[in-house]
């Protein structure tokens, strides 16, 4: 226990890196949930300072939305050692590439998520405990029959073009998003209409209850960003052009030069919340004058730029580079809770993998720890049977007896029962994602040891994307499921159209309950049934959780304390040291 107390004290004092902490915690035998708890404890309150953003909004409720009870109470707030806030400066971020525009409705790419949520805001967002809380919404009410969801809006919120946000803007944004985004299309199945009740109230009239609606409308990759109706009327479902990248966020677009940079500047008319920062929720104090995002596809050059002080944050860094950097006092490299987990997806639509016994045989053959060692290296992954990441309240170990079996004998037996005749099984992968590629190489060897005839087909990302569209050209592929706070936000769980096409009657029925059950306990039960189906129907093999890495300059203060990194960090409430 003394060890645990010391560990906690270290965490709060922030003298020890989280990587070191994770290693020590592993030695002490702390499980992932305990670490997640510690991580939450570490997130402190933003230093008491008036928001520099202009007019302060009237206090708004940020309590969890109806039907969603916090699992672990309110975010823990601890004093930070970040010092006094300093206003000014330009934060420079090196991204992995040039985003294809910044229209979040149409394109759900990681870099767009990183840049876009500084400019745009959603009706709801996720707080320090990953609970869904209002952002542009002022609350959330559902009728007794669950078929009418009323969302009052905050008043006085301004877009970057000076217009005030009103219900008509929300309706126009939703209608466009529902037409062009995969998540929007998923919601449309439950929706009869969205109506503007008055200037500050929107009503969603549903065909069946949809308890996860706020989470589906919340801040996420490809989420519903709110734009002025006047802007959306100009483009319809065509992509927004840079002059129309207008939202309500604390930063506004100044310059968008493809392959050179994207420059955001503080929006002086920003009207935010007054509640303490918590995850992606609460006050967003724009201390930084500007944020510049520079596309740098070359990994080594990106890291050299961070070391040289040219960048303050890298969108991505691979573990090998972290080891190569060593202990550089000018940097602040932090290991974070997992941001994704690896999966070996099997093609359940066509070919030999439609045989569930054969899929179970593959599941039995895979030793996931070896894939983690190959794809990430020691200290950068954690084995975990949960198909929702441990920092969410959905984490469960149901079905863990099927996880990480690494049992070639059982695999051989199951393959025999499946009538496997040695047909070549193709694993498609790409070296553009080394983690996916390395995992695929290890899995190929493990399956071969279990008697499978496996071919590894390596191609570039563009070719892989096209190959996966044809169900007759692949049996397995490696990928990662990125962090989502609610299982209904993961396409493979909520729909039948994700890669692999997992779509059995029991799965569809459980997924439906997960979306519509109003009782939190019943929803969790439905989720655990889904996780059990994941292991018994074996549409994919869950590999390891991939720990997040935050490659920061030591000059950036108060960022780890005030934002999540799972759905990309927000550089509000942080500042640059002189």
């Amino acid at each position: 226990m003394a060890h645990h107390d010391a560990l906690l004290a270290q965490m709060l004092s922030r003298r020890s890196s989280r990587r070191a902490l994770l290693k020590r915690a592993a030695i002490l035998g702390l499980g992932a949930p305990a670490l997640a708890g510690l991580g939450a404890a570490c997130r402190g309150e933003e230093p008491a300072a008036p928001s520099p953003a202009a007019p302060s909004a009237s206090p708004q409720a940020t309590s969890p939305v109806a039907g969603q009870t916090p699992a672990a109470g309110q975010p823990t707030q601890a004093p930070t050692s970040a010092g006094e806030p300093r206003r000014g400066g330009r934060l420079r971020v090196a991204t992995t590439g040039q985003p294809a525009g910044l229209d979040m409705h149409i394109r759900a790419q990681r870099t767009i998520t990183l840049i876009g949520w500084h400019m745009y805001e959603a009706l709801f967002t996720f707080d320090g405990n990953y609970e869904t809380v209002p952002m542009l919404a002022a609350g959330y009410e559902v009728s007794d029959d669950g078929l009418t969801a009323t969302i009052p809006l905050r008043r006085g919120v301004r877009f970057h073009n000076g217009e005030e946000m009103r219900a008509a803007d929300v309706v126009a944004s939703f209608e466009r998003w529902a037409e062009v985004s995969s998540l929007g299309i998923a919601i449309s199945e439950f929706l009869r209409e969205v109506v503007e009740v008055d200037d500050y109230t929107v009503e969603f009239r549903l065909s069946s209850p949809l308890v996860a609606l706020p989470s589906m409308l919340a801040r996420q990759s490809g989420g519903l960003s709110i734009h002025p109706k006047s802007v959306l009327d100009q483009v319809g479902t065509e992509p927004l052009t840079p002059d129309l990248y207008i939202g309500t966020g604390p930063y506004q677009l100044v310059d968008f030069q493809p392959d050179r940079f994207t420059l955001l500047r503080r929006f002086d008319g920003y009207v935010g919340l007054d509640s303490p920062p918590s995850g992606y929720a609460g006050r967003k104090a724009a201390y930084l004058d500007e944020i510049e995002f520079v596309p740098m596809p070359d990994e080594a050059a990106r890291v050299a730029g961070l070391q040289a002080g040219d960048f303050h944050y890298l969108e991505e860094i691979i573990p090998d580079q972290v080891e190569a950097i060593g202990d550089d006092p000018s940097l602040n490299i932090q290991i974070l809770p997992p941001r994704s987990y690896g999966v070996l997806i099997m093609n359940t639509i066509a070919g030999p993998m439609t045989n569930v016994k054969l899929r179970q045989a593959v599941l039995a053959a895979v030793d996931v720890e070896a894939t983690g060692q190959a794809s990430h290296g020691e200290g950068y992954f954690e084995p975990d049977p949960g198909i929702m990441l441990p920092q969410t309240r959905w984490h469960s170990t149901v079905g863990q007896e099927y996880y990480d079996q690494g049992n070639p004998e059982r695999a051989r037996q199951l393959a025999q029962e499946a009538g496997y005749d040695g047909t070549p099984l193709r694993i498609l992968t790409t070296q553009e994602d080394l983690g996916d590629y390395n995992a695929a190489v290890v899995i190929q060897q493990q399956l071969q040891q279990a008697g499978f005839n496996v071919q590894l087909e390596v191609m570039d990302e563009a070719t892989l994307d096209e190959m996966l569209e044809d169900d007759n050209r692949w049996e397995m592929t490696t990928n990662a499921y990125v962090f989502r706070p609610d299982p209904v936000l993961i396409a493979a769980f909520a729909s039948c159209t994700a890669d692999g096409g997992w779509c059995s009657d029991p799965k569809v029925e459980v997924a439906r309950r997960l979306q519509t059950e109003t009782d939190p306990g019943a929803r969790f039960t439905a989720f655990e049934e889904l996780q059990m189906l994941w292991y018994t129907e074996a549409p994919a093999v869950k590999l390891v959780n991939n720990l997040g890495i935050a490659p920061l300059s030591a000059k950036v203060k108060n960022v780890l304390e005030t934002t999540h990194f799972e759905i990309e960090p927000e550089f509000t409430n942080c500042w640059l040291e002189e």
Binding site: A108, T241, V294, A300, A308, A462, D465, A491, T497
Partner: protein, 316 residues
């Protein structure tokens, strides 16, 4: 001479069309769906299909080709699929970084190679000659991207003298522009300088033993005068060809150097457009590079006339 130049310029048109047709065919034959790349893996098949339709990618190959070809004849290269802007604009935005990088690198390479080659030839087999040749062999042998990363480590990470990458427009801030271009220029010019220095040395060694050089010495001309006015001028004829070829090599090398130093130039655009399967940009960028190659070789041919009076083209 004028007729020769005009004839060469006219030949450029069929050359570019052939290049364009080959690139169009190849880029459409390789697998990879631009719509899927743009939308990411989370997109549904319906979304990908809708985008393909909007971009005109579902049309038969010959229809796409005909549209593209007729537009190219009107100098309209179409719109970038990924950048959502006219290809001409995308290319023009990137001409300056690549053009200046190539110009700086070529100039530096020539400024290094000529003195190094001349000194090495004049002091043949001396210690200085050997040192210069080690330098030139190193230039040829070390890949420029590796040399570039070494430069970043030394000058940006360890010494902190220069920015690790990026580009500043020369009209915005000339000093910052030069600071950003120092390392890329060094990296790109190193191999060309090595190759050119070796060539100047061997050419100089050839001409130093020619009769006219011996005659010049016999006339009592100063050593410096003989070397610079008589020997070097003749040695420069093969050197000029290498300069032309090096320029082509530098355009190719800029693909890598621009990626390492994060310079938003044509080279990086070309690489990224191939990755993104941005067909119109790839087609136009390759045609531009081919045009530059042809024009540079034409320029080299014209310069021959001025360096070597014996060279004549056509009826001149």
């Amino acid at each position: 001479m004028t007729a020769y130049i005009l004839r060469r310029l006219l030949l450029l048109i069929p050359v570019l069309l052939v290049v364009g047709v080959i690139v169009f065919t190849l880029i459409h034959l390789i697998p990879g769906d631009p719509a899927a790349v743009m939308l990411g893996r989370e997109a549904t098949r319906e979304q990908v299909e809708a985008l393909r339709e909007r971009l005109g990618l579902n049309e038969p190959f010959h229809v796409q080709f005909f549209k593209w070809f007729t537009n190219v004849l009107r100098l309209d290269f179409g719109n970038s699929l990924f950048l959502d802007q006219p290809v001409t604009r995308a290319l023009l935005d990137r001409v300056q970084p690549t053009g200046l990088l190539t110009l700086y690198s070529l100039t530096l390479a020539v400024l290094i190679a000529i003195p190094a080659g001349v000194v090495a030839a004049v002091r043949r087999n001396s210690l200085l000659d050997r040192l210069l040749m080690v330098f030139s062999i190193s230039g040829v042998a070390i890949p420029n991207f590796f040399f570039g990363i070494l430069l970043i480590l030394l000058f940006a990470v360890i010494l902190g003298w220069l920015p690790s990458g990026g580009y500043v427009d020369i009209t915005d801030d000339p000093v910052e522009h030069l600071k950003h271009m120092v390392m890329p220029t060094l990296a790109l010019s190193f191999s060309a300088a090595g190759l050119m220095a070796r060539l100047v040395r061997s050419s100089m060694l050839d001409v130093l033993h020619d009769d006219y050089v011996r005659t010049a010495y016999a006339k009592g001309l100063p050593h410096r005068h003989v070397i610079l006015r008589h020997a070097l001028r003749n040695a420069l004829i093969p050197f000029l060809t290498i300069v032309g070829i090096s320029l082509a090599g530098m355009l190719g090398g800029s693909v890598v150097i621009e990626t390492v130093f994060n310079i938003p130039g044509m080279g990086r655009l070309l690489v990224q457009s191939v990755t993104r399967r941005d067909f119109p940009v790839v087609q136009a960028a390759v045609m531009v590079v081919a045009a530059v190659e042809v024009l540079v070789m034409l320029l080299v041919d014209i310069l021959y006339v001025y360096i070597d009076p014996r060279v004549r083209y056509g009826s001149d």
